[in-house]
């Protein structure tokens, strides 16, 4: 299913912002909010996982059903999960497209990566504590 995804601030994301390696931050930033009707069309329940793919990347997220987002759209808290599918092109303005990203969404059983996993995929090294 093709949706228009936007990223932005949420209270849980902001509350865990000093604890980016915590489960709370991972949970807060890896939820994709989708309208009930779109979830129904995907044939999955709120809380099931989906593979979200854009022109710039792909990542596994957890769905959460909401009536506050219109059908055809999706929302995610800003953070490393959103950025896994956001491109670096800025149209000559310095500002990448953090909003209105066209994504393809399909159900998956794959696990949601951790923040450390995402950083290691691009060449980072997790810190042990």
């Amino acid at each position: 299913m093709r949706l228009t995804l936007s990223s932005g601030r949420t209270i849980p994301q902001g509350s865990f912002v000093e604890h980016k390696l915590s489960k709370g931050y991972q949970r807060a930033t890896s939820i994709v909010y989708i309208n009930h009707l779109d979830l129904m069309e995907l044939g999955i329940e709120s809380g099931d996982r989906v593979q979200v793919t854009s022109d710039s990347g792909s990542v596994v997220l957890i769905t959460e059903a909401t009536h506050d987002i219109p059908t055809g759209c999706a929302y995610i808290a800003l953070g490393p999960y959103a950025n896994a599918i956001i491109g670096g092109y800025t149209h000559g303005t310095g500002m990448p497209d953090y909003k209105d990203i066209i994504v393809e969404i399909e159900p998956t059983d794959d696990p949601v990566p951790t923040v450390w996993d995402l950083m290691e995929i691009i060449g980072g090294l997790r810190y042990g504590h």
Binding site: R9, H19, T93, G94, D97, M119, I122
Partner: protein, 430 residues
Amino acid sequence: MDIKDVPCPFCGCLCDDVKIQIEDNRITGVENCCTLGNAKFLSKSRLQHPIMRKDGKWVEVSYEEAIDETARILSDAVRPLLYGWSGTVGEAQVVGVHLAEEIGALIDSTTSVCHNPSILAIQEVGHPGCTLGQVKNRADLVIYWGCNPIEAHPRHMSRYTTYADGYFIDNTATDRKVIVVDIRRSDGAKVADEFIQVKPGGDYLVLSALRAMVRGKSDVVPDSVAGVKKVQLQRVADLMMKAKFGAVFFGLGVTMSRGKYKNVRNAIELVSELNRKTKFTISAMRGHFNVYGFNEVLTWMAGYPFAVDFSRGIAFYNPGETSVIDLLEKKEPDACLVVASDPGAHFPKSTIEHIAAIPTVQIDPCVNATTALCQVQIPVAITGIESAGTAYRMDGVPIRMKKVLETDFPTDQEILERIVTRIREMRADG
């Protein structure tokens, strides 16, 4: 012990009425603060020692070794990038700008990925703005466009708009109207008197339609604009023109979506149109507590508010070329110093891939996503809790941040000064 009127070092509201209870040099209670500020004041986890990667493993090192390594990395670099700055005070930012000039670096802040388009628009058409105090005491119409204050600036509505008493407003509950414009029905939209739901990417069209209506050209507006009915737009345009004092606040829904700075320019020009009929202002909802401060500091030192490239020996500013995302996307930097921000969590994947590929040093109190991308991390005192200094509120009002806890950790400013000193020593040694 209680300390009153502590400014909160979280968001651009810089609420300066927070009360902190302290026992044995620990914060045991916070009053008047929002969820976000509370979480920061009461946070206990932090990095205890400088760390450095050696043979593919993290090891603890002394401050001296970490600073030596940082100075070596920056000295050896041909195209160093100094990035971050929004989570520290002006006094540290000043040292950062001096460092950038001295080593010919490119310096940019988190502005680049938040309100950079707002600055570009303001440079084109000006900024009819005002302080938050004016809004609180005078505004009878408040418009939140592409922002969600309840989640991003949780006390903005209670301190300055919807729920705040105003000196020139008899009854704020009835006399102050609130309009929210957003692509989704956010929590802010739920408490608004009027909610305009725009289709993603439709802000420019809706702003243009409102401008036409304010100009008296309603007949050119079609029945529906970006998913918004003409009757609602006309109702909103009438509300705007009838207001005695209107205040528009806009967020990243305007700056990050399609159109970018042209959206902001259109919003400013709508406000200019409205000023022919009544009094209207427009202001950006700045994010980090001192993101505005970096724009001030860099402007008075280099002449430009962000994305300044010193590689030519002079300050050169060309957003789209000298802005951090474009620079990283082109894989230009060969070393990076990150101060008081977390690009690992907030930059597109392709750009942080490059940060991971070059020698990167982070100055930050906490382990964060950027830690994984660094070669060195230097922990520091938490600004606004363990160290004092100047920050600028989102409306440009400077506020003195307080030190409420004693600490042995050095401040951002001290670490940066030691790095500058060490680089000078290395250069003198040839």
